[in-house]
């Protein structure tokens, strides 16, 4: 079959891009290989691990379960957009740092993207609710406890300084 190409336009972290993509190119691979935004990690590539989670029009989604061509006309956010280069980290990133919420860090970008959206919608979650919100992001290092601690702290930080 002849390669099937499409021109797409999208906004990622406030920057407008126009690219030509093959229809079978996954969105996660597009972000990493075409745009050089390698902060979005690729784990299982079938929607289980959550490492590739990004925001599509503000909502967390698996970028391994979308085609790049489907992002045409949409606004995306990736982990690179959470804090300005060289600037102060996002409160969630600060809390993950303070609570040692990562070891290898492979799952971290997906967790940050999942939880920034979650804490914006749910500013005062219980610990159980945080665990539920984290259920779609696998971490094989930490046992989650420090991540949960970081999320509770981040929620408090974000409530104080919205």
């Amino acid at each position: 079959m002849q390669p099937d190409h499409h021109e797409i336009e999208l906004t990622v972290n406030g920057t407008h891009y126009r690219r030509t993509v093959e229809s079978r190119l996954l969105l996660c691979d597009f972000l990493r290989h075409e745009l050089g935004l390698a902060g979005t990690h690729v784990g299982c590539e079938h929607g289980v691990c959550g490492a590739c989670t990004i925001l599509l029009d503000g909502d967390p989604v698996r970028s391994c379960l979308m085609l790049a061509v489907q992002a045409n006309g949409h606004t995306l956010a990736t982990v690179e957009g959470l804090a300005p280069a060289g600037g102060e980290l996002h409160p969630l990133q600060q809390a993950m740092h303070a609570h040692h919420g990562l070891q290898c860090g492979y799952c971290t970008p997906g967790i940050l993207m999942t939880m920034t959206a979650y804490l914006t919608e749910h500013p005062s979650p219980s610990e159980d609710e945080v665990r539920e919100a984290l259920s779609g992001n696998l971490c094989r290092c930490t046992g989650y406890q420090n991540i949960v601690d970081a999320m509770m702290d981040a929620a408090a930080r974000m409530r104080e300084a919205p």
Binding site: M1, Q2, P3, D4, H6, E22, S23, R24, L25, L26, D29, E45, H46, G47, G50, T53, L56, D59, P60, V61, R62, C64, L65, M66, L67, V69, Q70, N72, T114, Y118, E132, A133, S135, G136, N137
Partner: protein, 292 residues
């Protein structure tokens, strides 16, 4: 790149999408939320030659409460929208129980009800809900339309009554009747994982609190959702008792023939299904408010 090559077409209208399906048949697949289809394509278990993206067809999405006694849900409605529609969850409370079991928030932000039902995964919650609630599935093709009862829609493992040129376009759910209670429960190895077994129950009483109807459907224990309502016939006409519920559970264990999987033997699935049936019927019964 994981999926095999295909031609991608963003459908501009329902007629456009249906015309493409009529032209390409089984070689073409509709792409809605993609939360089952894209993984299957990444594994190359699915290799459609044409992918018809229907995500721009916003007319296929939405929850319509305008008709008394029923709620019509467009096939492209995402789980996310169902979870956030309080009126819908009040009218169709089985969804309030079941939606949190469907994968994870990121998946529910994309996945659609029509995609779920058309995929017909036997472990999935929503086919069992549709059967328990006696939903009606409205189907379209370029040639016309028809409506199929949920009980006739699920034909086999990952197989529905949909012909190669057809699309499920909306689903009509009856709202919970007065003096009724509903409950869905499931057991999975991990949160969001495929169900080892799940049970949906709807119990309806008369003014003397005698049982007039019990709807019961299970997921994860057969190639299709299992309508086990017949096993509840001994409850009809009487007040709900623990003994009757135990007898229903025993009947359900006889009725089902789970195949077992890496997480659960058939005997264990049968046991879990019985326990879930007991708990779901009991909880549904407890939830009935006399004020309703």
């Amino acid at each position: 790149m994981k999926p095999a090559s295909f031609k991608y077409v963003a459908a501009s209208s329902l007629d456009h999408a249906l015309a493409l399906k009529a032209e390409h048949g089984d070689e073409a697949r509709f792409l809605a939320g993609g939360q089952s289809l894209i993984p299957a394509m990444n594994f190359r278990l699915a290799r459609p030659s044409v992918l018809v993206d229907i995500n721009a067809l916003t007319g296929l999405a939405g929850i319509d409460h305008s008709e008394t006694g029923q709620v019509r849900v467009g096939a492209l409605t995402r789980y996310r929208a169902l979870e956030r529609d309080r009126d819908f969850l009040t009218s169709c409370p089985l969804f309030a129980d079941a939606l949190p079991h469907i994968a994870h928030p990121q998946i529910r932000n994309r996945g659609t009800i029509g995609g779920n039902l058309s995929h017909a995964d036997p472990a999935s919650e929503l086919p069992a809900l549709a059967v328990a609630m006696q939903a009606d599935m409205r189907i379209r093709s370029a040639a016309g339309g028809r409506t199929v009862a949920a009980s006739d829609f699920f034909a086999g493992l990952l197989t529905t009554d949909l012909a190669s040129d057809e699309m499920l376009v909306d689903i009509t759910f009856p709202v919970l009747a007065p003096r009724s209670g509903a409950c869905f429960m499931e057991i999975a190895r991990r949160r969001g994982d495929f169900a080892i077994a799940g049970a949906a129950a709807i119990v309806t009483l008369d003014e003397e609190r005698r049982c007039t109807s019990v709807r019961l459907a299970l997921c994860g224990v057969g190639e299709t959702p299992v309508d086990a309502s017949a096993a509840t016939s001994l409850m009809i006409g009487s007040r709900v008792t623990g003994e009757a519920i135990d007898a229903v559970a025993a009947g359900v264990r006889e009725l089902i023939a789970p195949s077992g999987n890496v997480h659960a033997s058939p005997d264990y699935q049968r046991h879990v299904a019985g326990v879930l049936v007991q708990r779901a019927i009991r909880t549904a019964h407890q939830r009935i408010s006399h004020a309703a």
